[in-house]
Chain length 423, copies 2
Amino acid sequence: MSVTNLSSPRQEPSSQLATATPDPNWLRRGVSEIFPDQPDSSNPEENLEKLLKMTNRPLRIKFGIDPTGAEIHLGHSIPVRKLRAFQDAGHKAVLLIGDFTARIGDPTGRSEVRRQLSAAEVAENAKNYLDQVRPILDFAPDKLEVRYNSEWLSKLDLTKILELLSTMTVGQMLAKEGFAERYEKENPIYIHEFLYPLVQGYDSVALEADVELGGTDQKFNIAVGRDLQRHFGQKPQFGVLLPILIGTDGNQKMSKSLGNQVGLLEEPLLMYSKLEKTPDHLLKDYFELLTNLPLDGLPETPRDRQKLLALEVVSQYHGKEAAQNAQKAAMSLVQGNTADTSAVPEFSLSQIKFPAKLFYIVSASGLCPTSSEARRQVQGGAVKLDGDRLNQVDLIFNSPDELDGKVLQVGKNKFVKLVNGNG
Amino acid sequence: MSVTNLSSPRQEPSSQLATATPDPNWLRRGVSEIFPDQPDSSNPEENLEKLLKMTNRPLRIKFGIDPTGAEIHLGHSIPVRKLRAFQDAGHKAVLLIGDFTARIGDPTGRSEVRRQLSAAEVAENAKNYLDQVRPILDFAPDKLEVRYNSEWLSKLDLTKILELLSTMTVGQMLAKEGFAERYEKENPIYIHEFLYPLVQGYDSVALEADVELGGTDQKFNIAVGRDLQRHFGQKPQFGVLLPILIGTDGNQKMSKSLGNQVGLLEEPLLMYSKLEKTPDHLLKDYFELLTNLPLDGLPETPRDRQKLLALEVVSQYHGKEAAQNAQKAAMSLVQGNTADTSAVPEFSLSQIKFPAKLFYIVSASGLCPTSSEARRQVQGGAVKLDGDRLNQVDLIFNSPDELDGKVLQVGKNKFVKLVNGNG
């Protein structure tokens, strides 16, 4: 199956993945668990490293996504980067779009996660997803297969579904993390929820997956896939589990709702500014999970490691030149010097009706999500114009000319360059 | 949907059901439970009696059978008789053949109950079933609809099945009798078992049933049908639960494996002989469940009640004349008089190679299921020929002429008349 040819609106990045010398330990780098895994066993069937050495065909590496339309951040990139590592080692990435269940949603209407999507929404979300992971994956047709599970799930009948359900007991299913606690607390578990792990497992059968990638929370589902493959006479897949990334706050799982995320679509300067402040204790994980750089050759000082990390990750998504410009701009801005603003995203003042108050401009430019947040930031002294702090919420600008070409800044890492035109 | 026109090989019985004056209490006669049932409620929606009075259309009365090919006995006849009572009150019997699940069997292969059947076996079993219940039901096309659930179940897809499953929680399903004990004892419950009650319930949706009949063990499944009908915007069916019949031993549920059954296909004399020995404490139940006779006009002595019961039930399945002949023959035989053998089933001696030993003839004639059982019966003194006890297992008969026209008897109620020819 071929992939929709998506034009990339961004500068083609020169990803480290494509150019770095392969890490001989690429398979286990940043991996939480590979299962089954018996390195001492003489049975090559149970050891993925041996299989990789012995095989004379490209393995099929499954990674499934829910086409929910979410913006992807560096946390999401981890399994996708591992998928790329398999591609670079000669194997085939099989990207599974879970369109069938997305189109059903949750029949009870209770789940936020399983919102019902139209076929058009699914297609749009899948396209957006592929756009976002384009800098990570190798999109050559022999390296990537994109599949939609409606292809086989829409054909399942009652006979087959009874067969799927008959491969597991209620006790086994209730032992699954999540179900166990809910059952214990007498929170209702609807029976159709038991079908989802089996359906995900059946995807592995349909795709004839050799390996499935997923977060550590996917172990149960990937193991169900193994059981079903065995049931249908296939060799069971290996599971490769990747860790959950801690966000830039250094404490919690990276998540948009916590505001500690770095989105793959963020502008180079914003991305750079966030990453160059990566907390010290996260640096090793970030290098291991987000770059291919050798971990034993990193700079000595934490500051230099932060800068290298930021430069490296921005390069992956925006190319080396944009990353270097972002680094220069960030250094200037931190020093209060706004002379080099070439890497700063622009905001067109034509969208604002003058005269306009400062807090309104801060909000309208997208630096703050709401007007009230913009007021707070101005009052708190976090807003600067070309490096000068402005703390009068109701400061009035009469004409765009007063702002043209200046850099408006909130806090340490949010910037826009105001331009008088359709910038 | 019309019914296959099945020729009845037996004499057409003059069933009491068709001729008796309708019992004004026919609905509740012999019923364990009707649900929902709020006789005091002013809400006619919740009361079947009121619905029956108010309706201006025939109600659709569902009764489902598994086409397992089992021989039907009087215990099985109870819901079928209730179905006939609904027919006589102007309603439509909807006989559901569960062919779909019978053709699947149990995917785990663990269940004896859900043996996998071929389409031909299902058709044959359904025909045999209909043959056996022919004396009970009114087979007029406007009175009886025979349906096969493959009609709708073969069209169910994953979307619909997820919807069915989503109508119930795991906790609700585990509360079902049978599941609860097994879960408690940590005996495995396979997840597909959760689908069967929902599939049976969905049959009620597909059939738009107003009432479902079943044994008392069917309450949960019938209630699931109500929930699903409500879910799909239909008025939920009423459940009419019928008791389990105690067998002729007076102790245990009637069952072929316990040998305490009276089969609907049994010869008049055998049926009569069993029923005229119905234990005293069962007589009231038998009259209530197996006849339409008014319960307040029964004979005074137990012996007379036994004889009336036997005569009445045999009449239903074999007609009045055959029943009267059976009564006469039974009385003669009990008195050791084998003169009147017109009602005794015949066995052709042409099937036996002479010379032949007694135990072999007893077994070959069908009076005992195995040769070893025949030996035991002869040795135990239970075998008579024309009233004379024979207890030599190896007694040899040299020619069929020695036996022609004689009655061979095992115990008190198994007889055959041996005939020299293709009787």
